[in-house]
Symmetry: C2
Subunit: 558 residues, 2 copies
C-alpha cells in the first residue's frame, strides 16, 4: 500500500488551549509519528470545578507509542508544554526544543521527578532534526516569549509549515522579529509548501496586529504620570510584556519587584539561558516595601483574576509586606480571557475600595495580542502559498472562519477538529479516520477522564445540594425505622419552618416500617426507594431535587 502523510490533532483544534498535534508518514496504520506540543488548558467552575489543569487524552498516541519518533515543543507557553510532566511518561520519547523552551521543559519534568535529559536542545534553522521520515527545523517567529518557533517539517510527501503561535511583529521586544524574507525563501525552496498548519486565534480581529514595541511609549507615559505605588499585571509567560513594563519602570526611575512564583521563574529561566540579557535588575518585596512609593513598580501575576495570585492578594489588602492604598495605581496590561471576567472585575472592585486607580487595556494603549490577526494570517497565506491550509489553535468557530477565508482566496482548506485524522498526501485533504479523543483532568495529583462522571457529580452537588441517608438493617433483615439524614448545600428549613432533614427522616420511617422483606433484603431496591422518597420530599418542601447518597448498613449476627 502506498505511503501517506497524515495529520491528527489530539488537542487545540476545537478549543484554545492544550495543543497537541500528530503528524505521520508511512504505510497506512504504520506511519512513523511525531507530536508537536503537549500543552494544558485550565479548568473552570462551570464545567470542571476543582480541576486546575486539563490535558489532551493521548490514549491513541500511547497505544501507538512504538511508532512515535519524538516530541517537538514550539515555545514555552503552558498551553504548548504544560502537560509534559504528567503525560511524557506515557510516551517516553525524546523532546526536542530550542534552548529556553527546553529549559522550561526540563523544569516540567524535574517537578515530577522525571529525567530531564530526554530534552534535546536544538538550534534554529538551518539546524535540522532528522527523525524517521521527518526532517524538522525550528524557524524563529515572533510571538510574546523568547525563542518562539514555527516548524518546517519536511516529509517525502512534501513540506509542512506548522506555525505554532505567531504574530507578524518586526519589533517584538523579546525573541526574533518576523522575517518576511526568510519565509519567502522557505516558501521558494524545492516544491514549496504543501501544507500550512496555522494559528487561528485572532481570525475574528479584522485590523492588522500591532507591534509590542508600540506599547513602550504609552506604558512609559502612564508610569511617568503616576505619583505613588505602581502595580502592573500581565501573564507571567508574556515575557515581552514583562520586559516592556520593566523597561518603562527603569526609565521612570523606579525599581522593579516581581511578585508571583510563575513570574519569577520565567524571568529566572530567561536570565539563566541568556535570552533576556538586558532585563533590568529586580528587587525583592522586603526592599520594595522599604522604598518610597514613587520609586517602585510591582509586576504581579494574576491578570486573569486568579484568587491565589499576587494581584488578588494585593487587592485583598496585603501581600508579602506590601499594601496598596489611596492614590496607588494598578494596570491590567492584558486581555481578559473569556470566562475570567468576573474574577478580574472582582479584583478591580476590591482595588477601587482601597482607593487604588485601576487602568485596563480596553483602549489598546497597554496591550497588544501575541497572535496574528486576520490580515496577518492572510499575509502569511500569501507569503507561503501553501497547497493546503489546515487551521489549528482555535475553537470550532475560529477554524471554520479560517477555512472560509482560505477558500475565499482560492486555497484548499479543511477543518480538522481533535480526533479527525486527515490524509494530506494528495492535492486535497481526506478524512481517513476519527480517533477517540477527550480531556484528562488533573484532580489533586491523579488524572481523571472528563467523562468519568466525577466532574459531573461535583456540578450536580453544586447545583442541587447533597442529601445523605444512612439506614441500618438488623441481623433479622428488619430495617430500623430511624434513618439518619444529613444535608450538605441544602436549606435546613422548609418554607413552613420545619427542619428538612427531620422531615425526610419522618417520611423514610414510614417507608421503612412498612417495607416488605423482599425490598429490605435488596440493596438496589432499598437504595432506589429511599432516594426517590428523599428527592420527592425535598422537592415538595423546598423545590429542589438533591443528589442523594444512601448508605445501607447491614448488621451481621456475631
Amino acid at each position: 500500500m502506498a505511503e501517506r502523510l497524515i495529520y491528527l490533532p489530539l488537542g487545540g483544534a476545537g478549543e484554545i488551549g492544550m495543543n497537541a498535534y500528530v503528524y505521520g508518514y508511512g504505510a497506512p496504520g504504520k506511519e512513523r509519528l511525531i507530536l508537536v506540543d503537549l500543552g494544558v488548558s485550565f479548568g473552570d467552575m462551570e464545567t470542571s470545578p476543582g480541576i486546575d489543569l486539563i490535558m489532551p487524552d493521548i490514549t491513541w498516541l500511547e497505544q501507538n507509542r512504538d511508532r512515535l519518533e519524538g516530541i517537538f515543543i514550539t515555545h514555552g507557553h503552558e498551553d504548548h508544554l504544560g502537560a509534559l510532566g504528567q503525560l511524557w511518561p506515557r510516551l517516553g520519547v525524546p523532546i526536542h526544543a530550542r534552548q529556553f523552551t527546553g529549559a522550561l521543559c526540563r523544569l516540567k519534568l524535574e517537578e515530577q521527578g522525571l529525567p530531564a535529559d530526554v530534552v534535546k536542545i536544538t538550534g534554529p534553522r538551518p539546524e535540522v532534526t532528522q527523525l524517521g521520515p521527518f526532517t524538522v527545523q525550528f524557524v524563529p517567529i515572533s510571538h510574546s516569549i523568547p525563542e518562539s518557533a514555527a516548524l518546517i517539517i519536511d516529509t517525502p510527501a512534501g513540506r509542512i509549515v506548522h506555525t505554532g503561535d505567531f504574530k507578524l511583529d518586526g519589533t517584538p521586544v523579546v525573541g526574533d522579529p518576523f522575517d518576511p524574507i526568510l519565509w519567502h525563501d522557505i516558501a521558494g525552496e524545492g516544491r514549496g509548501i504543501k501544507v500550512l498548519t496555522c494559528d487561528s486565534t485572532n481570525i475574528f480581529s479584522t485590523h492588522p496586529g500591532r507591534s509590542e514595541a508600540l506599547l513602550a511609549n504609552s506604558i512609559l507615559e502612564w508610569v511617568m504620570a503616576q505619583k505613588n505605588m505602581v502595580v502592573a499585571t500581565t501573564f507571567a509567560s508574556n515575557i515581552a510584556r514583562l520586559k516592556t513594563l520593566a523597561d518603562a519602570a527603569v526609565a521612570a526611575d523606579r525599581k522593579v519587584c516581581l511578585l508571583g512564583r510563575a513570574m519569577r521563574r520565567m524571568v529566572g529561566v530567561g536570565l539563566e539561558t541568556g535570552v533576556l540579557p538586558d532585563f533590568p535588575d529586580t528587587i525583592g518585596p522586603d526592599e520594595a516595601a522599604g522604598m518610597p512609593r514613587n520609586k517602585v513598580m510591582l509586576l504581579a501575576t494574576g491578570s486573569q483574576g486568579e484568587r491565589r495570585a499576587a494581584s488578588a492578594q494585593l487587592a485583598r489588602g496585603r501581600y508579602l509586606g506590601l499594601a496598596l492604598k489611596e492614590g496607588d495605581s494598578f494596570l491590567f496590561s492584558s486581555k481578559t480571557i473569556p470566562g475570567n471576567e468576573r474574577g478580574v472585575i472582582r479584583i478591580m472592585n476590591a482595588l477601587s475600595e482601597l482607593g487604588v486607580d485601576v487602568y485596563d487595556a480596553d483602549d489598546g494603549l497597554y496591550h497588544v495580542s501575541g497572535h496574528a490577526n486576520r490580515p496577518d494570517i492572510e499575509a502569511l497565506h500569501d507569503l507561503l502559498k501553501p497547497g493546503i491550509v489546515i487551521p489549528m489553535h482555535g475553537e470550532h468557530r475560529h477554524l471554520r472562519e479560517h477555512v472560509m477565508l482560505a477558500r475565499d482566496k482560492g486555497m484548499t482548506a479543511e477543518i480538522a477538529t481533535n480526533g479527525t485524522m486527515l490524509d494530506l498526501t494528495g492535492e486535497a485533504p481526506k478524512v481517513v479516520d476519527q480517533v477517540e479523543t477527550g480531556r484528562l483532568y488533573l484532580d489533586g495529583n491523579v488524572l481523571i477522564g472528563s467523562m468519568d462522571g466525577i466532574a459531573r457529580d461535583r456540578i450536580r452537588m453544586a447545583l442541587n445540594g447533597h442529601a445523605l441517608v444512612s439506614v441500618i438493617v438488623d441481623e433479622e433483615d428488619n430495617a430500623l425505622p430511624d434513618a439518619w439524614v444529613e444535608l450538605m448545600g441544602l436549606a435546613g428549613r422548609t418554607r413552613g419552618g420545619d427542619d428538612l432533614a427531620r422531615h425526610i427522616e419522618g417520611e423514610l420511617a414510614e417507608f421503612l416500617e412498612s417495607a416488605d422483606d423482599r425490598t429490605v433484603r435488596d440493596d438496589a431496591k432499598m437504595d432506589e426507594a429511599i432516594r426517590r422518597i428523599a428527592r420527592q420530599v425535598t422537592m415538595e418542601e423546598i423545590g429542589k431535587k438533591p443528589e442523594v447518597t444512601v448508605i445501607i448498613s447491614r448488621l451481621m449476627a456475631d
Copy 2:
C-alpha cells in the same frame, strides 16, 4: 430634633442588579420611607451555584415597615421589579408604577398568588403621587423598554431626581424620547435639584451613547443579505431591540416568530397595554417551520448563553420543530454581560458546527447600550445642576469613577454602597448609619441568606468532592470497625490503582478498633477524628482534601 432627608441603598449600589433604594424624611429614626425599585440579579456557578435569583436582604426595611409609605417601580426590567413576588409580602405597601410597568408588576405578584390590586397605576408627570412627606412624579426618560421613568421626589428638604436606568436617546424606537427641554424645566422649578441619584452603568464608556434608531439600517441590511433562515437573539426585556429586529424582518419580507416564554410575555404585555401599537404580527413555531427558510426571522431568548433558553436549544439542534442548518444565519444583537462569555461562546461554537454563520455586535452595528455613557452622564449633570450627585446602579468602581467625575466638575458627590445611610439634608451628604444588608438567594422555592453557608458548602463540594462515612456504635458503646465510605465527586482510584473508598475504610477500621471509650461515646470527638482520617488519607492518596460528612448511628438496646 430637626427633620432630615435620608438615602439608603439596599441593593444596586456596589453591583449592577437587584436595585432597591430607600428615601426617608422626618425626625431621625422616625423618617417616613419610600422604596424605589425591588429587583433581582442572577446567580452564577462561581459564587452561587444552583441559585437562579438573587435579591436584596431587606430586613431593615421589614423591621421599619410601619414607616414605609409605598414602593415605586421605575421600569419593567427584572433588576428593578423582579423581587416583588418574593419580597412584597414582607412589606405589604402599595406599589406605584406606570401602566405597562404596573402590568408587569401585577404578573409578578399573581405568579405567587398575591393580590395584584396593590399595584396602583400612575400617569406620567404632571400626575403626582403624594405619600407622607413625598410628592413623586414619574418622568418619561429614554431607555430600552416602554414607559421607563425617572422619578422626581419632592420633599420638604428639596427635590431629588432619581434617574432609574436611562440614556439620552432622541429616537429610542419604543418609549419616550429624551426631552432636554422638559428636564431643563424640571431643573428650573423652585429651588432646583438638590440631589441627583444617577445611573452609573456606563461611566467607563467614553464616547457619547448612540441611538437605538441608528441600528435600523444596519440590521435591515444584514437581514437583506441573508439567504436562508435568520435568527436573532437579544434580551427579552429589550423591547426596543425586539421592535428594531421585527421591523427589519418585515421590511425584508420575513415573518417574525418569537421563541421563548419571556419574549412572548414581554411583547404580549406590550400589546395588551397598548405601548406597542405597531409591533408586527407574529407567527408560531409550527407555521414558521412550514415557511420557506428565507421568509422567516426567529427572535429567540438566550442572548447570554443560558442553557435552557431558545438560543441554546436551537444551537443543540432542534427546538419546537425548528432546526438550523448550513447556510442559516444567527445574530447576537446584544452585549455579553461579564461572566456569561463562556456560555455565549459555547452556543457560537455549536452553531458553527451546524454550519450556521454567526454575527455578533462587536463592531457596534447590531447593538447599542440602553444606558448613558460618560459624556451623556455629564450632559445630565450639566442640565440638572444638582447640589449633590449620588451615583447608583454600579459596582464600586463605577460609583467611585462617577464620584470622581462629579467632583472634578466642582459638584458635591459621595459614594454610598448598599447599607450606607446618607443624611442629605445639608449642603454635603453625611454618612449617618451603616445598616446590615446582604443578599437573599431564591433556592428552589425558599429564600436563603447568601452567608448561611449553603452556597459555600456547594462550592466546597464542587471544588473538593464529598466523602461520606457511616459508622455504627453498638448497644455497648463499641464502634463497629467496618465503617462504610461513599465518595461523590472524587476519583475512585488512587495513583497506585487502589479503590480509594476501601482504602479509607481500612484506615478507619484501624482507628475504630483502637479508639478509647471516651472517644467512642462522644459524637463530636468521633466526628472530628473520622473526618481528619478521611481527609488525610484522601490527601495522601489523590492529593485532594474532600468535604467529609460523618454519620454515627448508635444502636439502642431494645
